[in-house]
Amino acid sequence: MPDSAPSETVSLQGNHACALGALAAGCRFFAGYPITPSSEIAERMSVELPRVDGVFIQMEDEIASMGAILGASMGGMKAMTATSGPGFSLKQENLGYAAGAEIPCVIANVMRGGPSTGLPTRPAQADVMQARWGTHGDHPIVVITPDSVPEIYMQTIRAFNLSEQLRVPVVMLYDEALGHLIEQVRVSDGGDIEIANRKWAADPGPEFSPYAAGEDLIPEMVRPGDGFRTHTTGLTHAENGFPTQDPDVVEQYMHRILDKLEIHKGLIESYETIDTNDADYLVVAFGITARAARRAIKQAHEQGIRVGMFRPITLWPFPVEAFESIIDGKRGVLVAEMNAGQLITEIERYRPAECRIEGLNRIDGETITPRQILNRIQELADRE
């Protein structure tokens, strides 16, 4: 945290807000590898962590950074890393390990244009699917997409809370434009924010099983040194932590790690709606694009077009029920995103009959403007 103790309002860049949010949440370990446009998160962490007796380390690559935060997390520290497109690709195998072995961790992916080295300094929203499906196999993951600097701060705190409570990797996904945007943020002194911690197992009795879970489907964590002496593996494991290929046990494990997000979706899901109730049309947008959409919607209202907005804050798991109730009865939906059409594939799954779904896509390294969105809203309305 900054030196000052009480809550105060400061001008912060999005990436610095992410770092300060992490610290407020209790993050005390950061391992990373520099990459534009995320490096300011690492740089800020390298300043702040030593002051609070935390650990900052720049590793030899992103694979190592991801490995190191998992080691630190299993050691008992709240840990995070930050990266962008190419580095996010490199983190995927160990991210899958975190999902499978249920190791809390937060990964910030500040999106730039891709594929490959792409557009290092330009914004994009083209990692919607990589964030969900980048690692192999069926796996649980939570992805959060803030749309402002204060929201980056607050949602990074929430990312840690969810990760610790649910033992699941959480991705903070936002684009370069937000990462480098400067806005006013009320930085907490700690008194007014809720911090959630992992559940620690207390009794290493002879019958202890590290992956046995109660009704909440979340096993308690064990701290090395507390007498448990358990095994952690990326191999599919039984409740005792050791590898198994028994189909019944494998299936039980798979269902548990996937279902735990389903049963806790009330805790996870978050979204914003604007004027959706009596709207004929809907704009779906997240992150920086939602800011343009907000303005376009206002202008459309002035022209008498009844249009609302749905903004997923938790992108994955997608807030299905909320969205289904909102899309119900809509005549047309415009999905605006800075990619060639990724979120729209999810939206199409919930399309009611008679509803037209169109994409507004921008893949030139520029942000989508309010004008572009307004034009497409007008087209949607004119087509009726």
Binding site: G67, A68, A72, T230
Partner: protein, 280 residues
């Protein structure tokens, strides 16, 4: 119990409820594990403080059998995971168990940086010249002309000398031993564990079932005797990692230095920063 009464009993350290274990009969990896546990026993390290981090391979599977805090991570990445664990928990004795493929091929970058940083971790690399677990493919330590499932006409690639690599990269302590000389191996590992910086110990293991069979190297006993015949602890010139060749294998502690240990120097830097900037 007095020191004299205390006899090393491997059964005290194993999760025998997981037996039968998965190693092939005659595999050198089991002997290496025995030597490691023996070294730990002689150093009297509390089991609750022991953390083993292993990669993927037959070598990596050993961790699961140890009654301690065990982490079986992704292929090639145990040193990365161990780095985070040790920095978060300096009170733990962190030991990495890895193979020649895990450590020198996919994990080679992590090895050289672990040596450079000199964080207090002990890394035991089991060199059997082959990818045992995946059925016997060529590795960065497979010697000249050896047959593997991916060198059907004999290997033509040069080998890594892992110890020379670790030494050049700055490891605090570097040692090598063969499995047949188990007490010496135990002693080398003991020195590695006791060293305050990063210790790299290469164990010349033998993969009887896959590598031995493919190259007509005889039984496991014959393989280790061939190794033994190649060992020249006094011979320190021109030695290479070719355990089943009539070359000299350098054994014992091959290098050590007293470079600052990573976690300690990190703490010192922070303390200095706090003093200078009044952040105490």
């Amino acid at each position: 119990m007095s020191e004299a009464d205390k006899q090393f009993n491997i059964h005290d350290y194993l999760r025998e409820y997981l037996f039968p274990h998965f190693l092939c009969p005659g595999c050198g990896h089991g002997i290496a594990l025995r030597a490691l546990l023996w070294a730990i026993d002689e150093l009297d390290i509390d089991k609750d403080r022991l953390a083993f981090v292993s990669g993927i391979g037959c070598s990596g599977r050993l961790g699961a059998y140890i009654d301690a805090n065990t982490f079986h991570v992704t292929h090639g990445r145990p040193l990365a995971f161990a780095t985070g664990l040790k920095l978060a928990r300096p009170d733990l004795e962190v030991i990495v168990i890895t193979g020649d493929g895990d450590c020198l091929a996919i994990g080679g970058n992590h090895l050289i940086h672990a040596c450079r940083r000199n964080l207090n971790i002990t890394c035991m690399m089991l060199n059997n010249e082959v990818y045992g677990m995946t059925g016997g493919q060529v590795s960065p330590t497979t010697s000249d002309d050896r047959f593997t499932t991916t060198t059907p006409y004999g290997n033509h690639e040069p080998v890594f000398d892992a110890c020379a690599l670790a030494e050049a990269a700055g490891a605090g302590l570097v040692g090598r031993e063969i499995t047949l000389q188990t007490p010496s191996l135990k002693d080398v590992l003991k020195q590695g564990l006791a060293h305050p910086g990063f210790s790299f110990i290469e164990v010349m293991s033998d993969c009887t079932e896959v590598f031995g069979r493919k190259n007509d190297l005889g039984s496991s006993a014959e393989m280790v005797l061939t190794q033994k015949a190649s060992v020249r602890p006094d011979f320190l010139e021109n030695a290479v990692d070719q355990p089943f060749r009539p070359h000299q294998i350098k054994t014992g502690i091959l290098a050590s230095n007293d470079r600052p240990e990573y976690a300690e120097s990190y703490r010192n830097h922070i303390d200095a920063m706090k003093r200078d900037h009044g952040h105490a």
